[in-house]
Amino acid sequence: MSLAWLGVVPFLAYATAFLLLPAANVLIGAFQSNEGGYTLDNVRTLFDEPYRTAFKNSIEVSLVTALLGGIIGLLMAYSAIREGTPRWIRGGLTTFSGVAANFAGIPLAFAFIATFGILGVGTQAMTAVGFNPYDHGFSLFTKTGIEIVYLYFQIPLMILVIAPAIDGLRREWREAASSLGASSWQFWRHIGVPILLPSLLSAMVLLFGNAFAAYATAYGLTSGGVGLVPIQIGFFLSGDVFDNPHLGQALAFGMFVVLGLMMLAYIPLQRISSRWMK
């Protein structure tokens, strides 16, 4: 038995100390009671208010922004890549997406406050033409507002992830289909969509996880006014809720379960979709 594996020990030790140990702390702590024994009470509490609503909100925001971000991102990426669009547009879109996918958190939240907040430039411009959105039931500081803002990083992530799959749709396939008499609709119905589907689904699963784990953007936008799971965890850690420290771990455990299921869906989809990309 060779001792070559010893070479990866420093990395394994580091990952254990700062990744696996805290993860294990959450997994075990979620099932411990304040008295020290094991209990299911903390996890059961996740199904009571306000945590039930927090999970519902988080899942809803993630689903909506994954679907909308996925569809809009696909349409934009396809528009930029398809034949006829000047090449520089694709380069520009990719560069911008790289920045926008990383431009999240506190500054992103404020950019939207400056635009569609109560004093925002966009809100004032709309008021000037006689339509103040805040008089018509709109508010940026709601679930809908969070969804609008999340799309700012969801769409660019979709563009970056789906572009290689669109490149994989070879032009010859389209030409072959049309020379056999297929209409554009028939091409998409029988060739384009079935080939893209696994990539689309895996990208949307990734977007779901991306939104589900987000904390800073929602916090910067609403200061915790809309109950999402990460916001509830933030309350626990900043000491606003004192009664049971293990409940914070249970909430984190609940997020871990959702994100873990996401990974389980993502990996096989990723494997199928990479078949078409060479």
Binding site: L19, G29, T95, V99, A252
Partner: protein, 265 residues
């Protein structure tokens, strides 16, 4: 020769709508940042001057930048030898290392911070209460996925075995081989991972704020809540930092695949 096709009308519509959605908030923030803090009238640079004359701006940006450099140094020192060794000697461990590098996506920062605070609460002040200790150590984990996959791609494109044998047959030691032969060959990959890490650390808010450190993004949030119009100025400055890091990344990665990232949200 295929005839040059014109741009499709639907493509124009989608790209136009998308650009509007992405550019309007940036333009609005710019206009917002030029307003007078008292009268809310345009146009003045006073908000930028306010930020640039705020000592907290300089101290927090310096703190975050040093933490970022420290994070990059530790991540490179930890991952370059590991990925090299895995490619050279123990390829069967590659799935395990890849798996560990992916774990931070499932154990997201908001989950990680819960466990971290509980595990490290009792550790000495010089580590736990220091951004250069605890925070940098944790950010290394957030950098794992980006640095690892960048390096893994880099190492796959070079012939590790031949380079190592050539270097050692000329009498080079392991450290010399790693430093003088391997590192120059994967410099672009290491730099790409480093710029991503820089962008992530400069913008990281979740762990910094919940662990009570006064980093740059915690300062940005403080301004957002307390100074209406200077907040527009600091937002654009923060956006500029992300731009600079990503453009530097593209410059070193020219010809490589566009970065697919998932930073702090």
């Amino acid at each position: 020769m295929t005839p040059r096709r014109r741009i499709a009308p639907s493509a124009v519509v989608w790209l136009f709508l998308g650009s509007a959605y992405f550019l309007i908030p940036l333009l609005a923030t710019l206009l917002f940042s030029l307003r007078n803090d008292q009268t809310a009238k345009c146009c003045t640079l006073a908000n930028y001057s306010y930020i640039l004359h705020d000592p907290d701006f300089w101290s927090t940006i310096k703190l975050s930048f040093i933490v970022a450099l420290e994070t990059i140094a530790i991540t490179v020192a930890l991952l370059v030898p590991t990925v090299y060794w895995v490619h050279l000697k123990v390829p069967r461990l590659r799935p395990l290392i890849s798996f560990l590098a992916l774990v931070p996506f499932v154990v997201a920062p908001i989950i990680l911070v819960v466990g971290l605070l509980d595990v490290y609460r009792g550790t000495p002040e010089w580590f736990y209460a220091q951004p250069y200790g605890f925070l940098a150590a944790v950010y290394v984990v957030l950098a794992f996925p980006f640095m690892y996959f960048s390096l893994d791609t880099g190492f796959r494109s070079i012939d590790v075995h031949t380079l190592t044998e050539a270097s050692q047959s000329l009498g080079a030691s392991w450290p010399t081989t790693l430093w003088r032969v391997i590192l120059p060959n994967i410099k672009a990959a290491a730099l790409a991972g480093s710029f991503l890490t820089l962008a992530i650390v400069m913008g990281e808010f979740t762990i910094a704020s919940l662990a009570q450190f006064k980093t740059f993004s915690v300062y940005v949030q403080y301004i957002n809540q307390n100074k209406t119009y200077p907040a527009g100025a600091i937002t654009l400055l923060a956006f500029g930092i992300t731009w600079a890091a990503m453009l530097a990344l593209l410059a070193v990665g020219r010809g490589r695949q566009a970065p697919i990232t998932e930073g702090e949200k």
